[in-house]
């Protein structure tokens, strides 16, 4: 139990996927202009990352390792994640139109997201068990969501400010992201994993 808590804190704060590992920067910059879209994206990422962690771990453990194909993990994971997201999108549209409306437009954006691939690869590298894998995937997505929400709140305010012309838009966004990342450095050493 204690180890699971450590894993979740490590994934959300100490090794935040966006701000410390610099994974998933594309949606981080692209979909963070409004708080509302950032929330939608975060919701979709939580969903997909948890699912992807579970499925890729199972595939690695029960398909790749027995056949001695561990070196194919990157290709396999990309394939699996992409088709998984498509499958989830199709199923959502039919089974839960409300959820599909909330997450639907963000799901295709995540098909080839490096954060999702990253969490799958890390699960293998760190030799997590099945439960740990699930928790780590969920925690990593929560960390992504935290970074998205914080950053979009900042950007909404920055948009109203009279920033110098050369810094307007993405430029000042990148600087802000850097400062936010520096702030998260403060969590370094909080837990050991």
């Amino acid at each position: 139990m204690e180890r699971l808590l450590v894993i979740i804190i490590s994934a959300v704060l100490v090794n935040n996927f966006v701000l410390m590992r610099f994974l998933g920067l594309c949606p981080f910059m692209g979909v963070s202009k409004r708080l509302k879209t950032a929330m939608g994206m975060s919701g979709a990422v939580v969903f997909v990352m948890t699912m992807a962690s579970i499925v890729t771990w199972l595939i690695y453990r029960y398909v790749l390792v027995p056949f001695g194909l561990a070196y194919l993990q990157t290709v396999t994971f990309i394939l699996v994640i992409a088709s998984l997201v498509q499958l989830v999108e199709l199923a959502l549209q039919k089974l839960s139109p409300a959820l599909y409306k909330a997450l639907g437009i963000y799901l295709p954006l995540i098909t080839t997201n490096c954060a999702v691939l990253g969490v799958s690869v890390l699960n293998i590298q760190k030799e997590f068990t099945f439960l740990e894998t699930t928790i780590f995937g969920f925690g990593a997505a929560l960390g992504f969501g935290l970074a998205m929400v914080l950053f979009s709140g900042l950007r909404e305010r920055i948009d109203l400010c009279d920033s110098p012309l050369p810094f307007k838009g993405t430029a000042i966004g990148l600087i802000t992201a850097g400062l936010l990342s520096l702030a998260f450095m403060g969590f370094t050493g909080l837990v050991k994993l």
């Binding site: 056949f67 194919l72 088709s83 499958l87 039919k94 009279d162």
Partner: protein, 280 residues
Amino acid sequence: MITAVIALASLALLAGLGLALAARVFAVEVDPRVEAIEEALPGVNCGACGLPGCAELAKRIAEGKAEVDACPVGGDGVAHSIAEIIGRVFEGGGAKNVALVLCGGDDSVAVRRFYYNGIYDCNSAVLLFGGDKACSYGCLGLETCAGVCPFGAIDMLPGGLAVVDPEKCTGCTKCVAACPKGIIKMVPYEKKVHILCSSHDKGGRVRKICKVGCIACQRCVKEAPEGSITMDENLAVIDYAKDVPEEVAGVCPMNTIVTQVLGREKRTGEAAPVAAGGEA
């Protein structure tokens, strides 16, 4: 090598089969008319119909919950093609309305009473004593309306005055709702004579702060056909249901009344005489 190829290929095949199966199992039946209606709509997702985007309106129309002419942007042409798709007859259709900023006071003719250096947005400026324009009914010129216009139909004159291009304007009324001063009104496209002022101030005060404001002298009221221009608390207002001849513009001593030429407002007279009092 062989195992790798076989393993990857079979995985891909499995995923592909799974997706194909899922597409079959989870297929959502969509009314084909919805797609056709969406094609017919302008597709700019401006929200003028009050719904979030053209797709939503197309759905409503197909379900019979919205009228075929529910899109104010598309006009009669779109309404006709939609009526054809859903097998209904569309009759009539009104004249096109366009937005008009009822203020002619740019910085060369209207006085500003302090230097505003806050957030570049009319809504924000209004919070500070109603804005920096001396005239509390005047256009602040901070581009709030131009920002919300999905069609780029609102230009800002160098003197800080918003002007709607009636050719580009589709009548979506977004700017009307966005203007904190409430001085943007919808007027029929083909009407040429407009009174570009919204000030209910008394004539003496208007003279002091703006060279093109309505001073309520009522000359246009006497000149124009009965009832086409009326006085509303020190402001002459045109009734767009009636026709106002272009000659009426000539009698206005402040040149507040303009005639529309080539999509741009053109003042009828030469520069107005300098207003008494000068700076307020």
